[in-house]
């Protein structure tokens, strides 16, 4: 018997597990595989654009949040409120510190970070080592690797130069291709390079080629390849060899920055006694009235294993994560079979419409305790708390709020589940 079972191992699920573990609860995380963090940037975007038709990244986030709370009551941020948001972010920063992969930044202030294409995009929290102020660097060198797919330094540098120019900043942005002398029997991606750079000899080759190009004032922008599990040692070593500053950019999947976040968080949780059972899906749940008593997990033998708990967190990742199933005339939550309202207009003709695609707002309707509710507002289940992309009322793609909602709702769901709270009064 567990205190809390978390279904899903993405950011929302891991945050929920962390929050429940913080309350010294016995926690089990079950998921059909590893979460989508491995394909994500590892940056935490709280709110990049609001209202969504804005072209410029949001500057005053606090005021935008007040607007959401007032005018958009179904938005997860509105349901949870500023205080919970603040708590959740402080908790995340604290946990990542303990996990040995510290983050920097705050939700109140958007940071502008370059993307792999050389665009400047808003985000809130980034790994401590990438927490730099771009404005203080006049000399920028974008580095690409000949062995690696999907990162083109000259293309990124051209875009960056133009964007800085539009902002009225004149910076020297150069680009260079490096060759690490790795075997080219196949195309390598950022994970492969990151593994290769854990080898000292490869790092020397990198440093040697870079030494002639940089000074101590140079900001070297490169894809996130500076080590996977031993990133600390890799980056310290490079820093000792070269005086310049490094800024890693998240890449296409497999994303090394996302992987570092996932694995350091999971490692930390395992140390705290959280159990993981990854690889097989939860196929259903046992219910008694409005309470869930256990989840059914498929195993290799085809037999169903039932795991019981007092409370549950549902963080299965919405439509893209496989938590919600869309059929031509219906949308259903997969585990508790919660029926979800179909939007009147399913898709917008303009794929990149500023108001976003209606389907990306679909999800489970919840109350402020994150319990799933009916259209009339009645709780469907009292000891199940919903988090992350399963929630309705926001569009992570146009708002740039995906990881922010995952972090805040995951924390809140885990905390409520850990407290065994079925109403705030009970907390």
């Amino acid at each position: 018997m567990y205190d809390v079972i978390v279904i899903g191992a993405g950011l929302a699920g891991l945050m929920a597990a962390a929050a429940a573990a913080e309350l010294n609860k016995k926690v089990l995380v079950v998921a059909k595989g590893r979460g989508n963090l491995y394909s994500a940037s590892g940056y935490i975007d709280f709110l990049g654009y609001y209202p969504t038709d804005r072209r410029q990244p949001l500057e005053n986030v606090t005021r935008a949040l007040e607007d959401i709370v007032e005018n958009n009551p179904q938005h997860p941020y509105a349901l949870l409120g500023k205080e919970k948001i603040d708590q959740a972010f402080r908790f995340f920063l604290e946990v990542m510190n303990r996990a040995g992969y510290p983050y920097g930044g705050s939700w109140q202030k958007n940071r502008i970070h370059p993307t792999a294409a050389g665009a400047l995009a808003p985000t809130s929290l980034v790994p401590q080592r990438s927490c730099l102020d771009l404005a203080s660097y006049q000399d920028i060198l974008v580095v690409g690797f000949r062995e690696m797919l999907d990162f083109y330094p000259f293309y990124a540098a051209d875009n960056l130069r133009e964007q800085f120019y539009l902002q009225g900043e004149k910076k020297l942005v150069r680009a260079v291709w490096l060759d690490l002398g790795l075997s080219q029997e196949r195309e390598l991606n950022s994970y492969d390079l990151a593994v290769a750079l854990e080898d000292e000899a490869v790092r020397f080759r990198l440093a040697e080629q870079l030494r002639v190009k940089v000074s101590e004032h140079t900001l070297v922008i490169l894809p996130a390849v500076l080590g996977v599990r031993k990133w600390n040692r890799v980056q310290d070593h490079l820093q000792r060899m070269l005086a310049c500053t490094f800024l890693e950019i998240p890449t296409l999947p497999p994303s090394v920055t996302g992987m570092r976040l996932a694995e350091s968080l999971m490692g930390y949780l395992e140390q705290r006694g959280v159990e993981f059972q990854l690889g097989y899906p939860v196929t259903g749940a046992l219910q008694e009235g409005k309470r869930c008593t256990g989840v059914k997990i498929a195993t290799a033998s085809g037999r169903i294993q039932v795991k019981e708990a007092r409370t549950f967190v549902l963080a299965t990742g919405g439509i893209l994560g496989g938590g919600l199933r869309v059929k031509p005339y219906s949308i259903t939550e997969e585990i508790f079979k919660i029926k979800i309202e179909m939007p009147k207009e399913i898709s917008h003709q303009d794929f990149f419409a500023p108001q976003g695609q209606p389907l990306s707002r679909t999800g489970v309707k919840v109350n402020s305790l994150l319990q799933p509710i009916t259209a009339q507002g009645e709780p469907i289940l009292t000891n199940v708390f919903v988090a992350g992309k399963n929630l309705t009322g926001y569009d992570p793609f146009v708002e740039k709020s995906g990881n922010g909602v995952a972090l805040v709702s995951g924390y809140a769901a885990g905390w409520l589940a850990g407290k065994g709270a079925f109403s705030y009064e009970a907390v």
């Binding site: 991606n189 593994v195 290799a300 085809g302």
Partner: protein
């Protein structure tokens, strides 16, 4: 598109897996969990060797023989890719099929044939254990082994002990024990512990009159032969299941093969039914509600290495559940790394260094601390750990036996 139930060129019915191919987004999460790739950069990785190649093959309608990268033979079939996939794709199924098509030199073929038929050798050698141990462990044989491409490591010794089974006839609790090659030929004390535990718990325990489960065969590419074995094993075990027996095994690879490979890799029509009746020893003990709480802890600390094929069964770690209840005061459960042995894989000369590199975090973890016990369920994991750390490794049942049976 091929017609339904198409079978040919040693390929079996894989329809259900082709459907799952559509779920592969090429996110490469599997790639990040592959122990081979982490230590051998030229390895193309599970995503490429599995779903990507299979899609290409389907697009070409199976008319053109695709080039199978020979590095596929470096796959250890640890199945960490299957468990990692966020979308339920199983790259290892495609890998096992395609591995049979990797072109090998004659020498490698002979060597692989010898390794794949370890059950057969075990059958002969265990009749004359002293002689076979002498024959296997001398400098001259070493030289021969080196020539035929075997790794410079000790082969497991053959066991001389005899298994004792008493009979608790008429007990409503019935189990049939699938020994597997390791417990049958190399370390009978594991089998004896299982027998003693189950008899102490009032089971009518029988030993299945069967040999190898087929894992060494199909992982060395002998698919057709393994299928024959699978059909025979399924027939015999189903007969037991119909008479109310539960199939148990102490070897994680045997258990996984009985549960999963007969159904998925060979698509045996009865595979599903068999799978439902197969249990890992500790899985059944946990399910039976066996509790070791209250037992005074005789050991201060233990390191438990979770074998990949146990992890792949999706049953959690039942042995750790039992062990953590009082056998040891401090139990370190390590399931993050493959030990690199992968059955016959680590015995191949060209894989030897890679095999040790893959397992190095496990060895390091064990050497770092002075554990009183080192435990693992799998026979070949055990060999690998013993040879690389010098520590004696036990099967969890060997420790549990003392507490349950008392001796």
């Amino acid at each position: 598109m091929r017609p339904d139930g198409w079978q040919g060129r040693g390929r079996f019915h894989m329809k259900q897996y082709e459907k799952r191919l559509d779920y592969c987004l090429k996110c490469s999460t599997c790639h990040t969990q592959c122990p081979v790739l982490e230590n051998f950069l030229d390895f193309p990785g599970p995503k490429h060797l599995g779903p990507e190649l299979e899609r290409l093959r389907m697009a070409q309608g199976h008319k053109i023989q695709l080039h199978i990268d020979e590095k596929l033979s470096c796959c250890t079939n640890c199945k960490r890719c299957d468990l990692a996939c966020p979308h339920g794709v199983k790259p290892s199924v495609f890998n096992m099929h395609n591995r049979a098509r990797v072109r090998l030199s004659l020498k490698e073929k002979v060597r692989d044939w010898l390794l794949a038929h370890n059950g057969r050798w075990g059958g002969i050698a265990s009749h004359i254990p002293a002689l076979s141990n002498l024959a296997l462990h001398n400098p001259l044989t070493r030289l021969v082994f080196d020539v035929i491409g075997l790794a410079p490591r000790d082969l497991p010794r053959y066991d001389t002990g005899k298994l004792k089974t008493g009979k608790a006839l008429g007990s409503p609790k019935k189990a049939v024990y699938f020994l597997g090659c390791y417990a049958r030929y190399n370390e009978r004390s594991i089998a004896q512990s299982v027998i003693n535990i189950f008899q102490a718990l009032g089971y009518q325990l029988e030993i299945a009159p069967l040999g190898c489960c087929g894992t060494p065969l199909f992982s060395n590419g002998f698919l057709a032969e393994a299928r024959g074995l699978a059909e025979k094993n399924t027939r015999v075990l189903l007969d037991y299941i119909e008479r109310g027996y539960k199939v148990i095994s102490s070897c994680p690879s045997c258990t996984l093969t009985l549960k999963e490979e007969y159904r998925d890799l060979f698509a045996l029509p009865e595979g599903e039914k068999l799978a439902q009746g197969v249990y890992d020893v500790c899985e059944l003990l946990v399910e039976e509600g066996l509790s070791l709480t209250g037992v005074t802890s005789p050991y201060a600390s233990a390191y438990y290495h979770v074998p990949c094929h146990l992890k792949a069964q999706g049953i959690g770690t039942p042995a750790a559940e039992l062990l953590g209840q009082g056998i040891t005061r401090e139990l370190t459960v390590s399931d993050g790394y493959c030990c690199g042995m992968a059955g016959t894989y680590g015995f191949k000369k060209e894989k030897y260094e890679l095999s040790k590199a893959i397992g190095s975090p496990v060895f390091q973890g064990i050497m770092d601390k002075d554990y009183e016990l080192v435990l693992t369920d799998c026979g070949t994991c055990k060999l690998q750990i013993e040879q690389n750390t010098g520590r004696k490794v036990l099967h969890p049942v060997q420790v549990m036996e003392k507490l349950i049976v008392g001796s």
